[in-house]
């Protein structure tokens, strides 16, 4: 083989839960880069390593059960394979349950692309006394098979050897033959003759392409010639009529019949043993009465672990940046600058960087704990427990965890939507997360309700705001249900429940590091840009007092007054809300700057009535995700449309809710 521009391209393809990610990390170490697949929001991960003299690019494909797609992830995998066939395929099987994965393995092997099969989790299989016979596997599949443990590193040198040998000496693969009903075989034969005639130099086996055409009713990629598509359709109808089964199911049936036989022969035992430990744990963790309380306990620990540790660290970093800013302000190099330039550097750029940095602790802790939950296998259980509740909103159970964690901080929660299984759930969840009452908003509410309502009433106001936040999520979820086209198609909920496992430090560290890097690359620019925008609005035209009535922000506030007057918000608070776009907790500090004077508490008490204050708080709860959350939504959805929708939903619902509250309050005689 001769390497292309990026070296030899090896595609890593497997069904979910085979340890694919662990193997990817094992082979590439930390030399990974992430991007996205063209046109979709699915992450594309690739990494580099060398095999002897060959530079290798390893492309991690999303988990897929087959090349006939049901989900968006699977569509990505199919398109990649058929449009840009890799030089080599590395397929992963779970040694404890060959049958599950062999359907895909057989399909890949039939393609005729050079391929190596890594039989992973050999350590666990050995512990269960069910080590498969790799010679049988390899001779039936017609490709080399190597036993590995991605977790311990066992077998990795041998795997690299096998890959190297295949690159050095690309022997023509001997595609396996699987038995199918006679009419199907006849159809495959007829179509492959046609394919051979029209495209004789394809890298794929003609009968693999013929089967694909049949399975997808002619709608395969790249689009076949019209004559071929027509032939595929009419053959397809004939086969379906003769067998009485839909073709996709018929074809899957042929593959899995072969898979069952092969798995039985290779392991000399069927079916695989259930995992005793998992059974025992599930009896407690999924118990009819104990399951939910235990789940809530785990969530409490998770929340405390992330935010109990993270929020103080975040505050500490914030102080550090404030102190650093104050120190910088006194430096001769800066005092020599004109006032606006100094302010731009300190109140614009330095503050922007400070906002980005302040998210590091929570994001790091978030992903440490999320990896723990996910790698241990508990995530699937949590989704199972909460599925009923979330199903009402058109979501699956995992979304509950994302939404819950939004109550600490929206930013990592939005990043964490990556755990969800379909684009539909991901987008819907990231649009709902901004309505949760995060800790930054809480600071504002504690402060304002204390001043406006007194110590006795304030806790009830806070409680009411939490209820309002739950209600907002529910209402939004129901409102967004009909918007399926924008959000992507809902996918069938069939979730595999993996065995419990001990998470490894290595994979947690790798994941957390990767997420921090991603946040820095994808979100930081947008956050700093947002902070600078607010700085420009509040500090220009030159010469005015920052955020005063004469500044652009002040003028904007006054221009918007007709819009905010009906909901009882004055222009000064509008400017404060503008600041809140940077980070919600800044609202208080902004009010202090805008009102001027020393005693902020008295100022607020005289400027704002309790009813107006309540309207203001409701508005603050809903109005817009902060800039960091928007940046995270943009980074995760890769769509300005979704990001804009997030902004719009917030503004409109905030205005409506405040209007309703304020007007109802006035009618009832409050002020």
């Amino acid at each position: 083989m001769t390497p292309g521009r990026d070296g030899i391209v090896i595609a890593l393809g497997a069904i979910p839960n085979t340890g694919k990610t662990t193997l990817f990390n094992r082979l590439t170490g930390s030399s990974q880069s992430t991007g996205n697949w063209p046109g979709v929001s699915i992450e594309r991960k690739s990494g580099h390593f060398t095999l002897g003299e060959y530079p290798i690019e390893l492309v991690d494909l999303p988990g897929a059960y087959s090349l006939s797609p049901v989900t968006e992830e699977e569509r990505v995998v199919r398109d990649f394979f058929l449009r840009t066939p890799p030089d080599l395929v590395l397929n992963v099987l779970d040694a404890r349950n060959l049958y599950r994965g062999l359907g895909l393995t057989l399909q890949l092997a039939m393609s005729g692309l050079p391929m190596v099969v890594a039989v992973n989790m050999i350590d666990e299989a050995r512990r269960q006394g069910a080590e498969p016979d790799l010679e049988i596997l390899s001779s039936h599949l017609g490709v080399p098979a190597v036993a590995v443990s991605a977790r311990t590193g066992e077998g990795i040198p041998e795997l690299k050897q096998a890959l190297y040998r295949l690159i050095r000496n690309p022997v023509q693969a001997r595609p396996p033959h699987i038995a199918c009903p006679a009419v199907l075989e006849e159809a495959v034969k007829a179509l492959s003759r046609e394919i051979e005639r029209t495209a004789p130099d394809s890298r794929f086996q003609p009968n693999f392409l013929a089967m694909r055409l049949l399975e997808e009713k002619g709608a395969s990629v790249p689009p076949p010639a019209p004559a071929l598509r027509q032939a595929a359709r009419s053959w397809g109808e004939r086969v379906e009529q003769a067998t009485g089964q839909p073709l996709p199911i018929l074809c899957a049936g042929c593959r899995f019949n072969a898979a069952r036989g092969l798995a039985l022969e290779a392991t000399r035992r069927s079916p695989p043993l259930p995992d005793r430990l998992s059974e025992r744990l599930d009896r407690i963790l999924l118990h009819r009465w104990l399951g939910l309380p235990l789940f809530l306990l785990v969530m409490l620990l998770l929340f405390q672990g992330i935010y109990g540790l993270g929020t103080p660290l975040q505050a500490w970093l914030g102080h550090w940046f404030d102190d650093g800013g104050a120190w910088l302000r006194l430096q001769p190099a800066l005092t020599a600058l004109p006032g606006w330039a100094r302010s731009f550097l300190l109140d614009g750029i330095w503050q922007g960087v400070g906002v980005v940095a302040s998210f590091f602790p929570v994001i790091a802790l978030f992903f440490v704990f999320m990896s723990l939950i996910e790698d241990s296998g508990y995530m699937a259980r949590a989704a199972f427990l909460m599925d009923r509740l979330m199903h009402r909103l058109g979501l699956d159970g995992k979304a509950f965890i994302s939404l819950l964690l939004g109550y600490g901080c929206n930013v990592p929660a939005v990043m964490g939507t990556r755990i969800l299984s379909s684009r539909h759930s991901r987008v819907l969840t990231m649009l709902l997360i901004p309505f949760s009452l995060c800790s930054a908003r809480l600071q504002v509410f504690v402060f304002l309700s204390g001043i406006l309502f007194g110590a006795a009433l304030a806790p009830w106001i806070l409680f009411g705001l939490y209820l309002g936040s739950f209600a907002a999520i529910l209402v939004m979820g129901l409102l967004l249900r009909p918007w399926q086209q924008v959000l992507g198609e809902p996918e069938p909920f069939i979730m595999e429940i993996p065995p419990y496992r001990l998470p490894t430090l290595r994979s947690i560290a790798l994941r957390t590091g990767q997420e921090l890097k991603d946040f820095l690359y994808r979100a930081a620019t947008l956050i700093v840009a947002g902070v600078i925008l607010v700085w420009i609005l509040t500090h220009f035209p030159t010469g005015v007092a920052p955020a005063s009535a004469e500044s652009w922000a002040g003028r904007l506030g006054q221009t918007l007054a007709p819009l905010f007057h009906p909901i009882g918000i004055q222009w000064q608070e509008t400017v404060a809300l503008l600041f809140g776009f940077i980070a919600k907790e800044i609202v208080i500090g902004a009010l202090a700057v805008i009102y001027g004077g020393a005693d902020l508490q008295r100022q607020i008490a005289t400027h704002i009535t309790p009813l107006q204050g309540l309207g203001f708080m409701v508005f603050t709860l809903l109005y817009t995700p902060c800039i960091a959350t928007l940046a995270a939504i943009r980074a995760e959805s890769r769509s300005w449309r979704i990001t804009g929708l997030g902004l719009l939903l917030g503004l409109v619902s905030a205005w409506l809710a405040s209007l309703l509250l304020y007007r109802a309050g006035l009618l009832l005689g409050f002020s």
Partner: protein, 159 residues
Amino acid sequence: MTESDLFLPGSICILHSLGDDRQVARRLAQMGILPGSRLRIVRAAPLGGTLEVASDQGELFALRREEMAGLDCRLVAAPLTSPAIRPGQTCTVLSLEGGRAFRQRMTEKSLRPGSRIRIGEPGTHGLLVSDAATGATIALGRGEAARIIVGLTPGGTPE
């Protein structure tokens, strides 16, 4: 009784067809869950609505009740509390789904895998069955009955 009431924890069914060519059917087919597969309902989620299902090939997955009801999966075993089991029928105990204490208690009532029993009328607190050989009456609590799995003919009625 709706179709989905049939899928009580402990029930076993054999898949006859995946139903219409829906996405769920395709997804299951690609996971290797195909006509002929034996599915066992492991448990229902505490809030209901979602089932944990084990296939005979050792896969464990979660599925919503309405999806399960859309499959043509014919019961071959069910707990004694299943609506598929009617008074007057005779069937064989297949398994006792419980810890050692429960199995011990059932043995004392002379119930063990292989026992043939005749179903009596449901009482207010549980179920009366009788030993098909001796005719001796055995009183079972509802909780106990839910954990005794008996065989059914492929049609869904006791043998």
